[in-house]
């Protein structure tokens, strides 16, 4: 995952292509959505374009599923432009 705060879509897609030659889509999540699931970004403060991870997932599988489903339901998906 990457911090894309303030980045133009064209710049975001460049990152996608750099990592995956033919990306089919990307999704956006707000930092607030992650905080609402009591998860943490690493690093907490990052620069636009910087790689970040989501940490402190619960160990119980059903708890992890629940939080991931909640994040997925809040994610905004963008198909690769033609």
């Amino acid at each position: 995952m990457f911090n894309t705060t303030g980045m133009l879509p064209a710049s975001i897609w460049k990152i996608a292509v750099r990592l995956q030659s033919r990306p089919i889509a990307r999704a956006e999540l707000s930092e607030t959505a992650i905080q609402q699931e009591r998860l943490t970004l690493d690093p907490i403060k990052s620069e636009p374009g910087q790689h970040v991870n989501i940490l402190y997932w619960p160990t119980e599988r059903e708890d992890k599923l629940e939080r991931a489903l909640n994040l997925a339901s809040k994610a905004k998906v963008f198909q690769t432009p033609d």
Partner: protein, 157 residues
């Protein structure tokens, strides 16, 4: 807004697979159900054995986990539901089945491993659920939960 996005995504069937610590799908289209939903889903599960790509972080799905997932699918009556589950492997080597509707706003996921319990979680119009059941009882419980949101005979989209 501090927006972040996920790049490690790829196409699995008709869904966009977002590679979080567990896979998450976004299903943009209405599915056409095959004649035998169980067979189609079991093929997808078996494909997990051959489609594993070493990335240094993920565990492969074991044959025991696949066998348990196949047995679970046999016990579910998939023909009663209005769509097939998306099938994926988690980075921990579990089998994930996920049903999605309402543009991703309603979801139900089942996680199957070599453990004696099968975990599940769901987001429905009427609320959220989660739990874990012994694998011998899991199909009945999960069938019941799934029927509340994904029944072929429901009018919900």
């Amino acid at each position: 807004m501090n927006a972040i996005f996920q790049l490690d995504d790829y196409r699995t069937g008709d869904a966009l697979h977002l590679y979080l610590p567990i896979p998450i799908f976004y299903s943009p289209t209405t599915q056409v159900l095959p004649d035998n939903p169980a067979t189609a889903t079991k093929h997808d599960i078996l494909d997990l054995l051959s489609n594993f790509e070493e990335d240094g972080e993920s565990d492969p799905v074991s044959k025991d986990t696949v066998l348990r997932a196949l047995a679970f699918v046999d016990e579910l009556n998939l023909g009663r539901f209005d769509r097939l589950p998306e099938v994926a492997a988690t980075p921990s080597g579990e089998v994930l089945l996920e049903w999605i509707k309402a543009n991703g706003k309603q979801r139900f996921a089942v996680c199957i491993s070599e453990d004696i319990s099968i975990s599940y979680a769901g987001i429905f119009q009427y609320g959220r659920i989660k739990g874990a059941e012994h694998y011998e009882n899991a199909a009945d419980v999960i069938q019941s939960q799934l029927s509340r949101a994904f029944s072929k005979y429901s009018s919900a989209v």
